[in-house]
Amino acid sequence: MEGDAVTAELGAFLLSLALAMSLAQGALGIFAGWRNDARLAAAAAGTAQSAALVLLGAFAILISLFLRSDFSVAVVTANSHVAKPLLYKIAGTWGNHEGSMLLWCLVSATFAALLATFRGAMTQSLWSRAIGVQGVVTAIAIAYTLFLSSPFARLDPAPLVGRDLNPLLQDPALAIHPPLLYFGYVGMSVPFSLAIAALMEGKIDAAWARALRPWTLLAWTMLTGGITLGSYWAYYELGWGGWWFWDPVENASFMPWLAAAALLHSAIVTERRGSLAAWTILLAIVGFGLALLGTFLVRSGVLTSVHAFAVDPKRGYAILAMLSFFVGGGLMLYAWRAPRLSEPSGFVLVSRESAMVLNNVGLAVAMGTVLIGTLYPLLLEALTGRLISVGPPFFNITFGPLMALLFFALPVAPLLAWRRGDLVGAWRLLHWAAFAAAGAAVVVLAIVRGPLWAAFGIAVGVWVLAGVALYVWKRAGSFGRVAALPLAVWAMVAAHAGAGLFTIGAVAETSFRKEQSVQMLPGQTVTFAGRNVTLLDITPREGPNYSAQRGAFRVDDRAVSAERRFYAVSGMPTTEVGILSGFAGDFYIALGSPGEGTVGPQAWTVRLYFNPLVQLIFIGAGLMGLGGALGLVVLARRRLAAPAAAASAVPAA
């Protein structure tokens, strides 16, 4: 490794350079906005673009250190091994605290560069101020990385072997889950920068809200994708049949998601009607605050979680200080400037904008309960010294009913017109959806004999889904014209239908899942969930960096296999489940431990699950993400089509 003596140091140098550039970008941008100077604004934009390139270089160097297994670098030693497959050597770059913080900086700088490149309808002063604020965000993140968790720190003497990446993380979905999630988290910094820039300007108009929307939608879509992938990974990798555990770190990604969802909707109201401006600004600040809180929760290890990386209080305090600086500073600026923002006088009670307000209040309150459940243990420990944990039932009891209430209003909102809606007219159409929902509830109660809350939950999902279908029908007017509906309609329809499908899947899975743990000998057959499961045989298998026992099963007449892997370097076993997906749900097999129990030494513990309609959860979440992606296309097109018309605030539809 003598030849690479300077590579890590070059990385650290590039990181320092990027810090200086981001600081310059911050100063230039804010000053340019204040003086409204075109040349200074262009300089800020150019600095932002170059800083992103410099950080990209630093990140590429870290990847190359992982690829070459340079064990003189501490972070490589702690998280990599020569025997690891290529993809996971690369993924190992961000599968640890230091590397993921570098990724955080890179993403923040990338967003600054994008902001600098795509000015769109923004006025010059707003644009340069936003670039400036984004520069400050990047600079603080780089300072934290450089001084408290540098990925380029060396080990002396260098060890000969590394400790390997946690085997649970050696999975294709987990290779892209963190970057997606980080793009989502850090993506919330752009609405924040735009909000702070608008507060500096002291002016909020439709053009500002129009500039805000694509960035919010981008962050929300990335968060949706990242969370969905993480959930799917937990489902097939952890081997417990579950897909969401209300783990503090899951909540940490879910809260910014809720804030972004609220912000998406309130920004539409601000663009179309000019109202809710102050609330939109507040949401943008809080949304980024929650994204930072997410980083704090994941990185500090203050909460017991499956994800907690580093238990280093110094880092935790530093991230907490960052959080207070941005949220506290943002809120102070808000308190000072927001009362000056002029808003048009109120609106009619029955209208699309008031439905959107209901959406926002609902999402914000639901987010508040998740926040309380997540932080309550910290609070109680600080106040009384008692250690507690808040379990999933809390979140099911609080979050479930609030979202159900929100989903009652969901199909109504698109049917109401702006300014004045016609509730009677909406009901004339929606009573069909109410019939469908009632029918679904009756089926659940009478035929499946499920509990009342399951009937209610599934009815809510069907109500949303049918309501969305009726909306499509109304917009198109006839079957022939459905295909001709504009893309913007499809974006909303996909996201809302996804929410409905997700609800049905989540309620069905939670209330009707079956599970059983059995001891099986090869050749033995058991009956579970109406199917015959036979353990055919168990054979050893060697993977690239693990050894495995593979159990071959037959479920009725379909073959499926489940594995138990052992990673020698880290000494960890993992489970690779066998899943048979069908229309009614997933048949899910996990191979447990061998040679124990009453049946004899050849018997294996086998865990069997039947997860009804579980795929609807992931399909629904995927549809929401697709809706977001379509919406991005729509907003991008709109911007390309009419850059000049952007200054006026005339609604398009």
């Binding site: 946690n166 507690i388 379990g391 209430l405 076993p573």
Partner: protein, 143 residues
């Protein structure tokens, strides 16, 4: 509709939603909070019917399996509690390793756990276990 009465309706609706959320939150916190205890404390301190988490190390040589039930002892070096669990423990469950058993405390000799947690990342013991071990002076890792 006058502006003031419209504002009243909006604030009223938000207030109802907030009250509902607050009620649900209090109700939920009452029933789904689990208190954490060290094995040597739980017998004396836990109230019957309380949801508890007992954290410590799996005592070496104490694990026994049979009939789909696994039983073992959780220790913090001072005291130990016998735990039984119906089902298969997590992959990382092993003798001498950190573990958290969650369930409802009913007194008696054996704690019937509803959930067994072993940290997914083997490098870090559950923080609660570390705190319990530190409090008992049994912690051997970094301070």
């Amino acid at each position: 509709m006058r502006k003031s009465s419209r504002r009243l309706i909006v604030i009223g609706a938000a207030g109802v939603l907030l009250a509902l959320a607050a009620g649900l939150t209090l109700y939920g916190l009452k029933d789904s909070v689990a208190y954490f205890y060290a094995p040597s404390d739980v017998v004396v301190q836990a109230k019957a019917g309380e949801r508890v988490r007992i954290g410590g190390l799996v005592e070496t040589g104490s694990v026994a399996r049979g009939g789909g039930v696994i039983s073992f002892k959780v220790t913090d070096g001072v005291g130990a509690v016998a735990v039984s669990y119906q089902g298969d423990p997590p992959d990382l469950f092993a003798e001498g390793q950190g573990v958290v058993a969650e369930g409802v405390w009913r007194g008696g000799d054996t704690f019937a756990a509803e959930r067994i947690l072993a940290k997914h990342d083997e490098k870090y013991m559950p923080r609660e276990v570390v705190e319990a071990l530190k409090a008992k002076g049994e912690w051997k890792g970094t301070p």
